[in-house]
């Protein structure tokens, strides 16, 4: 069975959708060369009219994509650095994402915003390692974070076909993940539906993005000692609350493992909702970045700041003991 890399899955999803639907095109910086590998080969296959090389005008080309969408296209806009999504936040959250309502349902804005290098870039300094996905969820923008090649393929396909704006974060630290899967088994993955990567009885670990793989490793370490279920919501917003509730009905114990800043981050929301509405036999815990860390200036310092396997294991053990 062929082994598929995470970036190749993204690249294939783009190619397959462009093949299937001529209204799909990509727009971004260095997309013709395919600098991030997401768009490699697309120029040759689909020509310059469907692989638009954009100036360093992120706000302008994000608005341009909104217009193209209103004109009947399904743009995929690629960004090179996480902070660029903050630079265009207003255009996505206050403009594109509000047109459906503001127009009284006359139009949707089917744009996909693809951040191929999401999250930490070791050593690249204070401005290249942010992980602002919680912000998009807070503002009601559909947001996905695939952890595996198959999910990257399937979620990107669904994002492109969705009639609303969707942001796709592709964590750099997941780019190395490979998966043995036959092309035929690559299928769309619906937005808002999570996935149990590993069944367990004692503690539910909710992990998203590249941290899913760390969570699985920790679950294996603890095997025999504690039975850990690993649940990946895959979509940050809309969130699969039912999927989480089902898992907690079994385990009653929750640890959230999340790469965003702690303060008002995804983990805070999951903790809050779980205690409001779900079965818990012990207080839930979270392992995240600090309140508002700046990551990326030093590999050593990052190790002290990023959510770690050690922290997760400790949190699982604490949660497991609690309420016994």
């Amino acid at each position: 069975m062929p082994s598929l890399s995470y970036l190749k899955a993204i690249n294939r999803a783009l190619g397959d959708e462009m093949e299937r639907d001529r209204t799909v095109f990509v727009l971004g910086e260095d997309v013709r060369e395919g600098l991030t590998n997401a768009t490699v080969g697309l120029l040759v296959r689909f020509g310059p009219e469907r692989v638009l090389e954009a100036p360093i005008s992120e706000q302008g080309f994000t608005d341009f994509a909104t217009g193209a969408a209103l004109g009947g296209r399904r743009p995929v806009v690629e960004y090179q650095v996480p902070f660029l999504l903050l630079l265009v936040l207003e255009q996505i959250a206050n403009q594109a994402n509000k047109i459906s309502l503001m127009s009284g349902g006359q139009a949707g804005v089917p744009v996909t915003y693809l951040l191929t290098p999401a999250g930490r870039r070791a050593g690249w300094g204070a401005q290249h390692a942010d992980q602002p996905y919680s912000v998009f969820g807070h503002l009601g923008v559909k947001t996905v974070l695939p952890a595996t090649p198959a999910d990257a393929y399937g979620l990107l396909i669904s994002a492109i076909r969705d009639d609303d704006p969707v942001v796709v974060f592709a964590p750099i630290e997941a780019h190395g993940v490979r998966e043995s899967i036959a092309p035929a088994d690559l299928v769309p993955v619906p937005l808002g539906v999570g996935r149990v990567h590993r069944a367990g009885a004692d503690v539910t670990v909710l992990a998203i993005g590249h941290l899913v793989h760390d969570a699985l490793a920790v679950a294996d370490e603890l095997d025999g000692e504690i039975s850990v279920e690993v649940f990946d919501p895959r979509t940050l917003y809309p969130f699969d609350w039912n999927g989480l509730a089902e898992s907690l009905d079994k385990t009653g114990r929750l640890v959230v493992f999340d790469d965003s800043n702690k303060f008002c981050g995804l983990a805070a929301e999951v903790l809050a909702t779980s205690i409001e509405q779900m079965r818990l036999v012990a207080p839930p815990a979270r392992v995240t970045r600090p309140d508002s860390a700046i990551i990326g200036i030093s590999a050593a310092a990052d190790r002290a700041l990023l959510p770690s396997r050690e922290q997760l294991a400790a949190a699982i053990r604490r949660t497991y003991k609690n309420g016994r």
Partner: protein, 329 residues
């Protein structure tokens, strides 16, 4: 009623400027009466620009308008009754009351946008125009914005995109000489058209008080766009008599003098265009327009308001629903 599009005879242009004038006067009355929560940004004084561009654009052309856009909607073909209903937040409005005065999107009339974020309609219009051209049509997209919006970087980014990709877009600046309380010369270094010219876009300035002048300039730009000649930029010098927003009716701001307003009123576009129509015809048109406005008012006031539980209908094109803010909500 305005037709498919507004038409370009002297009478057509008069009907349009008159319609816009009476529409805005009525809208202001309704604001005073407390029927318009947002208030409005009246375009009284600027009717010639709307009428001129509206007479050139086809019904299937696209326009991105501004917060001062009622006139653009009307000139482009929005039903006055449904536009007024929109401004009053009624579900019969062009955008089912969800856009309101500031965002009266009306896809039936080609009004694809009216974003609150000044200047950002520019790059959006470039995107629409690009898509229209890709479809192999000769449809064009126009974006209308003010003299203040030309200071928004995203608009300049949009001009670059339009020029690079030679899209069939027309950028129209309604220079009414103020951004809220700020005179244009205080915040615009160099010239407005110089900014477009810097991207290699044909750009010119014109009198915005005479519908004929606007029409002639717009015809050239639209012809260029339709024939694959790329984008154009038009600046029209005009003036808003009533101030920035109806809050000025009470706010009592001091940023301009009455003499200045009077000088501009002396060049009133409705009067000017009216003189180009035979007196009797003019009276017929006035009566016709008044009837339209009265019918529109009745329609709007009789229309249902958005219900308590309808606030988030249409929030997502996919009809996705939200969790409420409180468990007992």
């Amino acid at each position: 009623m305005v037709a498919d599009h507004a038409g370009s005879s002297a009478e057509d242009l008069y009907r349009t400027v008159r319609l816009i004038r009476r529409f805005e006067e009525r809208a202001i009355e309704l604001v005073r009466a407390g029927n318009v929560a947002s208030g409005i940004h009246p375009c009284i004084g600027q009717e010639a620009v709307a009428a001129g561009i509206g007479a050139v654009l086809r019904h299937d052309d696209v326009m991105m308008t501004s917060h001062r856009g009622h006139g653009h909607n009307l000139a482009k073909g929005s039903d006055p009754a449904r536009l007024l209903a929109e401004i009053l937040g009624r579900t019969t409005g062009v955008a089912r009351g969800r856009g309101g005065s500031f965002h009266p999107l009306d896809f039936t009339a080609g009004i694809y946008g009216a974003t609150g974020t000044l200047g950002h309609g520019g790059p959006m219009a470039a995107g629409v125009a690009w898509a229209l051209a890709q479809d192999g049509t000769d449809r064009v997209a126009m974006c209308v914005f003010g003299d203040g919006a030309v200071n928004q970087g995203a608009l300049l980014e949009g001009l670059n995109l339009a020029a690079l990709w030679q899209v069939p877009a027309i950028f129209v600046c309604e220079n009414n000489h103020y951004a809220t309380t700020v005179p244009v010369q205080v915040v615009v270094a160099g010239s407005i058209i110089g900014r477009a010219a810097a991207f290699g876009i044909p750009a010119s300035s014109h009198d915005g008080m005479d519908p004929n002048v606007v029409l002639a300039a717009t015809e050239q730009a639209v012809a260029r766009a339709r024939s694959g000649g790329g984008p154009s930029f038009l600046e029209f010098s005009t003036y808003r008599y009533e101030g920035h927003h109806t809050f000025e009716l009470s706010a009592g701001l001091r940023y301009r003098g009455d003499d200045e307003v009077a000088a501009w009123r002396a060049r009133d576009p409705v009067e000017l265009q009216g003189r180009r129509v035979r007196v009797q015809r003019r009276q017929e048109i006035d009566a016709e327009v008044d009837a339209v406005i009265d019918a529109a008012t009745k329609f709007a006031l009789d229309s249902p308001e958005i219900e308590f539980d309808e606030g988030l209908d249409y929030l997502y094109a996919t009809k996705m629903r939200l969790r409420p803010g409180a468990d007992n909500a």
